[in-house]
C-alpha cells in the first residue's frame, strides 16, 4: 500500500493544478484583508469566515481536479495494468490511492493553514479591537472538520471512480453527492417545519428520508460560523462528528475496494 500512496502523493503534489489552487486561495486570503474592512465591528468574524472559506474551497478544488485526475487517469491511460501487474492487491490499490490523496490534502491544508494564519495574525495586529472573540483553537477546529469532510469526499470520488469509466461522470456524481450532502439537513429541517396542509407528498418525504441516510451530511462538518464566534464544540460532539466521518469513510472505501476487486481492466 505504501508504494502506491507514495507515488500518488508525488504525482499529485507536483501537479501544476495544485499550485494554481494555492495561488487562488492565497489571493482570496489576501483579499480578506481588504474586504473585512468593509464590515465595521465584524472585521474579525468576516476575516475568519473568509479565510476558512478560502481553505474549504481550495480543498474542494483539490478534490475535483487533482484527486479525480489521479484515479481516473490510471484507468483511462491504462496505467492500472502496470500497477496491478505488481504483487499489489486491488484493495491495497484503493486504500493506497486514498492515503496518497489524503497526504496531498493534508499537506495542502497545512500550507493553507499557515498562509491564512499569517493573514489573520496581520489583521489581528492591525485591528486587535475587533478580534476579541477570536480563538486559534476554534479556528483549527473548523479546519480539522473541513479536512475530515474533504477526506470523506475523496472517499466518495474513489468509489465513483471504481464504478464509472469516465472522469467527467465521476466529477458529476461527486459534485451531486456533495451538493445533496451540504443541503440535505436544511431540506429535512424545512420539511419538518411544514404543516400537513402545505406539506410535501408522502413519497417525496420518503425519498428524502432514504437520501438522508445514504448521503453523508457534509454540512455537519461545517464549523465556520461557530469558529468565527470563537466557540468550541464539546469533546462529546468532537468525537461523535469525527467517528461519524471516519465510519462513513471506511464504509465508502470498503465498498470501493469491493467493486474494484470485481472490475475488469480491458
Amino acid at each position: 500500500m505504501w508504494p502506491i500512496a507514495k507515488i500518488t502523493f508525488l504525482e499529485g503534489f507536483r501537479s501544476q493544478v495544485l499550485y494554481g489552487i494555492f495561488l487562488f486561495a492565497l489571493f482570496v486570503m489576501v483579499m480578506s484583508i481588504v474586504f473585512s474592512n468593509f464590515f465595521m465591528q465584524d472585521i474579525g468574524k468576516v476575516a475568519v469566515d473568509f479565510n476558512l472559506s478560502a481553505i474549504s474551497f481550495a480543498g474542494l478544488l483539490i478534490c475535483l481536479s487533482v484527486s479525480i485526475n489521479l484515479i481516473s487517469k490510471d484507468l483511462d491511460k491504462k496505467t492500472i495494468h502496470f500497477v496491478l501487474s505488481k504483487p499489489i492487491s486491488r484493495t491495497s490499490y484503493v486504500f493506497g490511492k486514498f492515503f496518497g490523496i489524503s497526504l496531498i490534502v493534508l499537506f495542502a491544508y497545512l500550507i493553507l493553514t499557515v498562509l491564512s494564519g499569517l493573514v489573520l495574525m496581520y489583521l489581528k495586529y492591525d485591528s486587535a479591537q475587533y478580534f476579541g472573540m477570536f480563538s486559534w483553537a476554534a479556528y483549527l477546529q473548523a479546519i480539522y472538520f473541513d479536512l475530515l469532510k474533504i477526506s470523506l469526499l475523496n472517499g466518495i470520488i474513489i468509489l465513483f471512480s471504481t464504478v464509472t469509466t469516465s472522469s467527467f461522470l465521476t466529477m458529476l456524481l461527486s459534485i451531486s453527492i456533495y451538493v445533496v450532502g451540504q443541503t440535505i439537513s436544511a431540506v429535512v429541517g424545512f420539511i419538518q417545519l411544514q404543516t400537513t396542509d402545505t406539506g410535501f407528498a408522502t413519497c417525496t418525504q420518503k425519498i428524502i428520508d432514504v437520501v438522508k441516510y445514504l448521503v453523508p451530511n457534509f454540512s455537519a462538518f461545517d464549523f465556520k460560523v461557530i469558529s468565527a464566534h470563537g466557540m468550541l464544540v464539546t469533546p462529546g460532539e468532537f468525537f461523535s462528528f469525527t467517528a461519524y466521518g471516519l465510519c462513513y469513510l471506511l464504509l465508502v472505501l470498503l465498498a470501493a475496494a469491493g467493486i474494484f476487486s470485481r472490475k475488469e481492466f480491458l
Binding site: W2, P3, K6, I7, L10, E11, R14, S15, K77, K78, T79, I80, H81, F82, L84, S85, K86, P87, I88, E264, F265, L266
Partner: protein, 300 residues
C-alpha cells in the same frame, strides 16, 4: 521441461460499450503452454486476441470459460502495450515503485536501478520526469521497470513498438539475455523477422483462435520447404484445406508450401485430384509467409 503458463480452452466474450452494446467473442477457445525457460511469441493481426490473452493471464480480466494457470512461484515482470506512466515521477521513482512492490531493499534498489537503466540505455535520464520522455524512451523505461526485480516470467506486450532500430536491437538482445539468465519470456509482436529469429515457439492467433503453433524446428523446416504454384480455383482451396497444407493466395495463383517430408505426398494428392501445377520452386518460406498464408485469405 516444466510448464510455467498453461491456458486451456480460454474463451472471453466482451460487451461492446453502450447500453445496448452487443457481445463480441474475443477469445474463442485458446489453448497454449509456455515452457519454463523458453521464449514464446504470440503473433496475430490487430484484434486477434493477443493482448486479451495476456490480460486474462495477468488477471486483469476474467475468462468467460476455460482455465488459466500460472506457476504460483513465478515472479512476473510485465510491459503493457503503449505504456503510460505517471507524468510527474522520475524514472528513478518509477523504478523505485516497481522494486518496492517486490520488496527490494533500498541498497539493492540503488544498484539495480543503475544496472537496468544502463541495460536499456537510460542512465542519463534516471532523474528526468517521465512526462518529458519520447515514446521510445517511455518504452525503455517500461522495460526497465518490468525487469528490475529479476522476474522468472517476463511478459512483454509489443516490446519493440515505438523503438528506433538501436532500441529494437536492445530489446532483441535483452530477451536473449533474459533467457540465458533463466527467465521465461512471453511476448506479442508484429515484427515477424525478430520473432522468427528469437523464439523457441510461435503461437499464431487468428480471430480469437490458435491458428498454428510453430516450434523453432518447424520454422527451420519451413525454410527447407518447396513452393508449388497452382491456379487459383475454389476446388484447389478446398483441397489444400482438406489436406491441411499451408498456402497463400496471390491473385490468380496460389502458393502451396510443402515441407520436404510431405513433398511427394503433396504432389500425389494434387495429381490425383487433377490440379494443374504452374511451377515448382525452392521456397524461401519465412514466418511471414506462413503468417500471411494463415491470416490473408481474402482472395478465396
Amino acid at each position: 521441461m516444466s510448464t510455467i503458463v498453461e491456458i486451456e480452452n480460454l474463451k472471453k466474450t466482451i460487451k461492446k460499450p453502450g447500453l445496448r452494446g452487443s457481445q463480441v467473442k474475443v477469445l474463442k477457445g485458446i489453448s497454449l503452454k509456455v515452457e519454463t525457460g523458453s521464449i514464446t511469441a504470440i503473433i496475430g493481426l490487430n484484434g486477434a486476441g493477443k493482448s486479451t490473452t495476456i490480460k486474462t493471464l495477468l488477471g486483469f480480466i476474467r475468462p468467460t470459460s476455460g482455465r488459466v494457470e500460472l506457476d504460483a512461484t513465478a515472479c512476473i515482470g510485465y510491459l503493457p502495450e503503449n505504456p503510460y506512466y505517471y507524468d510527474y515521477l522520475t524514472l528513478r521513482e518509477l523504478l523505485w515503485f516497481s522494486a518496492k512492490s517486490f520488496v527490494i531493499s533500498g541498497c539493492e534498489f540503488r544498484r539495480k536501478a543503475e544496472q537496468v537503466a544502463e541495460r536499456v540505455g537510460m542512465t542519463a535520464h534516471l532523474d528526468q520526469r517521465l512526462r518529458s520522455f519520447s515514446k521510445g524512451m517511455t518504452q525503455r523505461a517500461g522495460i526497465a521497470a518490468a525487469i528490475i526485480h529479476d522476474p522468472g516470467l517476463v511478459i512483454f506486450d509489443e516490446p519493440m513498438s515505438g523503438l528506433d532500430p538501436l532500441g529494437r536491437k536492445m530489446v532483441f538482445d535483452l530477451i536473449k539475455d533474459l533467457q540465458s539468465c533463466g527467465s521465461t519470456v512471453l511476448f506479442c509482436s508484429h515484427i515477424l523477422s525478430d520473432v522468427e529469429r528469437l523464439c523457441d515457439r510461435v503461437v499464431i492467433l487468428h480471430e480469437g483462435r490458435v491458428a498454428k503453433v510453430l516450434s523453432h524446428q518447424d520454422l527451420l523446416l519451413a525454410h527447407k520447404a518447396t513452393e508449388i504454384l497452382l491456379h487459383h480455383r475454389p476446388k484447389v482451396v478446398d483441397l489444400l484445406q482438406r489436406y491441411k497444407l499451408d498456402y497463400k493466395v496471390d491473385g490468380a495463383l496460389i502458393s502451396c508450401f510443402a515441407e520436404a517430408n510431405r513433398f511427394d505426398e503433396t504432389l500425389k494428392v494434387l495429381s490425383a485430384e487433377g490440379v494443374d501445377i504452374v511451377t515448382i520452386r525452392a521456397s524461401a518460406a519465412t514466418l511471414e509467409n506462413i503468417f500471411y498464408a494463415i491470416v490473408d485469405k481474402k482472395g478465396e
